[in-house]
């Protein structure tokens, strides 16, 4: 028989993941005439992906997504953002600042997107382009490891396919990149290196959106929320207008979520039911989808040399997700990085040194200014002082004192504060402490805010209903996460931090249970992966053996 088990298939380039990073890399590789195979684990690109999401085209960026994909804005995105506000909240008092200046700084254009629609459109374009150079996109394929020859990375292994060799391997496999972990380039240890994003897509008629947000059909609004509505958890909320829906979500520091033992879905509900949103809903609330995903913090984890052998990391896999104060920029950097990695390979093709492309890619990340955005020098300098607990506490005490209120509360401060929020420089230096997220916005609202005298009638669905509305193709008998340690000390944090689990809720992934043995009571944790939305949280906060499910299995997002 002519079976070829002794000969592996070979492609010039293999790209793992067809999100914005992988799509940009593959498209650029095809532009260079390189034979490129793209492997995506979702049943369609976008089926696994979640973002807020505003995609930015930065004036200073080496690549914008519409440079690579003609017609992107017409075919794959929702409304452009023309209005931009931040709401500082203290109880029912709200102080709103116009953030349009900050938003427009270095912005050529910025559109809201829904990832299923966006990524599936990109997938088709990528398949067309890569087919012309002898490759293409394959969905339902989960790359489960790296192929090594004499210890050197030479390809990938998959659940669904025989091993494949390649001259370039692009890991564009997003946050919780199994390839970056296996290559030893990233670890999943420290909660303070990540954010957790949770999101609801809410139905709204296009006319109602125009009317209630006071925008034209070709305009869109972005609203950010911070203050005491999330108790002491560090993070904030967002609301973006799509064509016929709203994207509403929250993004919190993972370490803060764990410390406060906060329930992510309850924090989202705190935003959804806040009276500041009531005028937009007008008592109608129909949630299309509940979703969640981890987000890396580039300030801490963007890899300075994101390559090993023939493997390069792009996008979230490399930690290239920039939280510029309240503005979240991950998709745009993934696009830049993907395209730069492709360019790097094109010029080093044929070089005998397997790391030539990786080195070149790193240089391009630096030369294009991308790395400096991801890991600003000034943040590294200011971080050591400003995130220090003692300093935080001192500043907190001053803000709490009458002098603090006076300083923030006077009319000049009001103008200065709006200017400060609009300064990309100041915003990028905001320390990741309670001060920036909670104390200051709360104080601003208390001092300058208008009080809302109505309540919200919105009743978001329960966690059980949210899980029930999601689409899963469960890989029965083949769970993708294994709980290694069932003690509450090691894994208990997941019971609250998992966005589809909660204390005293039996229908989620993680549950805790008190077991009595020989008179001593012990709290144990158990796991059922069926409702898992593959957000990645428990890979960091619990003791698990964590992988993504096999190709096409698990959660399928329709909106993202």
């Amino acid at each position: 028989m002519t079976t070829e088990t002794d000969v592996y298939e070979h492609y010039e380039a293999v790209v793992v993941g067809c999100g914005p990073g992988g799509a940009a890399a593959a498209s650029r590789l095809a532009d260079h005439g390189i034979e490129t195979l793209v492997l995506e684990r979702g049943t369609e690109a976008g089926a696994k992906n979640v973002s807020g999401g505003l995609i930015y085209a930065e004036e200073s960026a080496p690549y914008k997504i519409d440079d690579l994909f003609d017609g992107f804005r017409e075919r794959a995105s929702e409304r452009p953002v023309t209005d931009y506000y931040i709401h500082n909240i203290a109880g029912n008092a709200v102080k709103t600042y116009d953030l349009t200046d900050l938003h427009e700084h270095d912005t050529d254009w910025c559109d809201a997107v829904l990832r299923r629609e966006m990524d599936s459109w990109l997938e088709q374009r990528v398949h067309e382009k890569t087919s012309e150079t002898g490759g293409g996109v394959l969905t339902n394929v989960h790359v489960d490891g790296l192929l090594r020859e004499n210890g050197e990375i030479v390809g990938v292994t998959c659940d669904e396919l025989d091993p494949i060799k390649a001259d370039l391997i692009v890991a564009a496999d997003g946050v919780n990149s199994e390839l970056a972990r296996e290559a030893g380039l990233m670890d999943w240890e420290e909660p303070d290196e990540w954010f957790q994003g949770v999101k609801a897509v809410v139905d709204m008629d296009p006319d109602a959106i125009d009317d209630r947000f006071d925008i034209a059909p070709d305009e869109g609004a972005a609203h950010l929320f911070s203050g005491d509505l999330f108790s002491d958890v560090r993070g904030g909320g967002f609301l973006y207008t799509n064509e016929d829906s709203l994207s509403i979500g929250t993004v919190f520091h993972l370490d803060s979520l764990v410390e406060q033992e906060a329930e992510p879905h309850e924090l989202l509900d705190a935003l959804l039911t806040h009276p500041v949103l009531a005028g937009w809903f007008q008592n109608e609330y129909h949630e299309r989808e509940y979703a969640a995903k981890l987000v890396p913090d580039s300030k801490k984890v963007a890899h300075r040399r994101p390559y090993r052998d023939r493997l390069v990391l792009v996008g979230d896999a490399a930690g290239q997700m920039q939280a510029q104060g309240p503005i979240i920029k991950g998709m745009n950097h993934a696009v830049s990085a993907g395209a730069l990695a492709a360019d790097a390979f094109a010029v080093t093709r044929g070089n005998r040194d397997p790391e030539a492309a990786g080195r070149r890619y790193t240089k391009l990340l630096n030369d294009s200014g991308t790395m400096d955005k991801l890991r600003p020098q000034r943040y590294e300098l200011s971080r050591s002082v400003s995130e220090h607990d003692a300093v935080t506490n001192a500043v907190e005490r001053v803000l709490d004192s009458p002098i603090g209120s006076l300083a923030v509360g006077n009319p000049i401060a009001d103008r200065l504060l709006e200017r400060a929020y609009n300064s990309p420089f100041l915003v990028s230096m905001l320390p990741d402490t309670k001060t920036g997220y909670v104390t200051l916005p709360t104080l601003i609202a208390e001092e300058h805010g208008k009080t809302i005298y109505w309540d919200s009638d919105v009743e978001p669905p329960s966690l059980e209903e949210r899980i029930g509305d999601l689409t899963y193709d469960t890989d029965v008998g083949n769970p993708h996460i294994e709980l290694l340690e069932e003690s509450y000390e090691e894994s208990g944090a997941a019971v609250t931090a998992c966005p589809v689990s909660a204390e005293d809720f039996g229908g989620g992934c993680y549950r805790s249970e008190t077991v009595k043995t020989n008179g001593t009571a012990e709290t144990l944790v158990s796991l059922d992966t069926q409702p898992c939305v593959e957000c990645g949280t428990c890979a960091i906060v619990a003791d698990t053996e964590w992988e993504h499910p096999r190709g096409g299995k698990g959660i399928e997002f329709r909106e993202g």
Partner: protein
């Protein structure tokens, strides 16, 4: 070629010895819609019941598509029935794969039972071999969902004088040796699997458990390309459809249609029963027990062949 460099597109090169397959598909009343009509005598009123492809034929088509993906070649969909069955063939082209389709259709062929159908199909295959190309593989699905006889495949095979492998769940072909290797369920039992070999040309009846396997990226890319192409073709199915009637097939009306059917179905159950027994046989056409059957068929086959 370990470590060797392949040039662009080389992953798409087709192996030597391309395979030509014919898939026999059958229309069945659409039981799923609950729209099945029976006349007073309990006969199916086919005119009033929507027709769809026999669900089990999908596995036969999948097997043929897998053969084309791995070895290149050509897949023809063939069916016998009234002109409306063109839609069944179009469905086959759309939902799985076909390069072209042949419908053996004639008023004279109406109401044929499985024997007469087998003869007509055999005549169609003969004509195809004579006028179009030599055939390496004929695929059929397991049991038709309406008649519950499961006979058309094997009977057509006897008429063709080819080896037959039934209850196939996985398939491998060596085009150079002109051998087929199949995993099949022994006695149709899901727990007992055996591997058998048969020379080409060969007749393959797929089991509903049949699963195509594509472990190579290049195969999946080819599969994706072929699927896109067949869907495009299906949109203009008429351009790819050939109709043959009884004169084209050189069949004597006395031997086909109602007149040529040795068994008359008296009535059928409204809901198809789960297959209670799955007759599966590796048949050596030279075996004595088939001889009488072939003898019986001889006049028809001769008629069709000459």
């Amino acid at each position: 070629m370990i470590g060797g460099h392949r040039h662009a597109n080389s992953n798409h090169t087709v192996a030597e010895g391309t395979m030509r397959s014919i898939v026999l598909t059958k229309g069945v009343p659409d039981f799923s819609e609950g729209a099945v009509s029976f006349d007073e005598d309990g006969h199916l009123e086919r005119g009033k019941t929507p027709t769809v492809m026999n669900p089990n034929d999908e596995f036969a088509l999948q097997a043929a598509l897998q053969t084309k993906v791995r070895h290149g070649g050509h897949v023809t969909g063939m069916s016998m029935g009234p002109p409306g069955y063109a839609e069944v063939l179009q469905g086959a082209m759309e939902t799985v794969y076909a390069d072209d389709t042949y419908l053996l259709s004639d008023r004279e062929l109406a109401a044929s039972d499985t024997w007469a159908t087998a003869i007509t199909l055999s005549a169609g295959l003969e004509k195809y071999q004579e006028e179009i190309a030599d055939v390496d593989l004929v695929f059929a699905g397991f049991k038709t969902a309406d008649g519950e006889t499961g006979q058309t495949g094997p009977q057509t095979c006897w008429a063709m004088d080819w080896p037959i492998v039934t209850h196939v769940i996985a398939l491998d072909i060596d085009p150079d040796e002109r051998m087929l290797r199949a995993k099949r369920l022994v006695e149709g039992d899901i727990d007992e699997v055996e591997t058998v070999e048969a020379p080409l040309p060969c007749f393959v009846v797929t089991d509903p458990e049949f699963e195509p396997t594509y472990r190579k990226a290049s195969h999946r890319l080819t599969h994706k390309e072929l699927r896109a192409e067949t869907q495009q073709r299906a949109a203009n199915h008429d351009d790819y459809l050939t109709m043959w009637d009884h004169t084209d097939l050189n069949l004597d009306p006395d031997y086909i249609g109602l007149d040529g059917s040795p068994t008359i179905v008296s009535s059928v159950d409204p809901i198809p029963k789960a297959p209670s027994e799955r007759e599966a046989t590796m048949i050596d056409p030279a075996e004595d027990e088939i001889a009488p059957v072939l003898e019986e068929l001889q006049p028809h086959a001769a008629e069709a062949g000459d």
